[in-house]
Symmetry: C2
Subunit: 117 residues, 2 copies
């Protein structure tokens, strides 16, 4: 089975609530995750919500990393979508789990672009 | 089962190859999809690859829409992640399938943030 992309869906529960509302910390965390994975960063877009919560994306040459946080629940959803064999999305996942202090996480891996060629 | 977010993963095969390499068209398509879903656009980041392919994200107050295209295979991966009951992600999916001219598509729906509360 040959897929064009690998997509990790991270369910991050039991996170540090303060971290989940800190847009600067989350931006650095996503950039660190991209770097650790060996990805090339192309762009980003981060947003702080009122009264709480952050959304942010880092576009990479190999696809993207994105996060949405609910500090009130200690929960974040993060995706790491990569293509090509030069990047290591699992390393990016480890970074995010660690930096957010998640005490209860799960990762679903989806194969994207399974073609008939 | 109460989830914070609804995440649609679109596998779009048999698309119009020219459209998949047209960054302007794809940007308009994602913005149209966000608008049709009733979402509020916060930011965007689009990138053209050489020799072909486009990646783009539209951040919305309700989460995000993202696309990665492989014109050489007539394939695109798109995600529509929304939270809250005021938006209709299914309408965004319909727009993308139609605008990309996909002749073979599938949509997987994932629930994100199923909490124990």
């Amino acid at each position: 089975m040959n897929a064009l992309g690998k997509h990790l869906l991270l369910e991050l529960k039991g996170c540090d609530k303060e971290v989940l509302n800190d847009i600067g910390f989350l931006r650095e965390a996503l950039l660190a995750a991209a770097g650790e994975a060996g990805a090339t960063v192309l762009g980003e877009s981060f947003h702080q919500f009122n009264p709480h919560g952050v959304s942010g994306v880092v576009m990479i040459a190999e696809s993207h990393l994105v996060i949405h946080t609910w500090p009130e629940f200690g929960y974040a959803a993060a995706d790491i979508f990569t293509c090509g064999s030069s990047v290591q999305p699992g390393k990016a996942a480890e970074i995010l789990v660690g930096k957010l202090g998640s005490k209860d996480h799960s990762i679903i891996e989806m194969q994207r672009g399974i073609l008939d060629t």
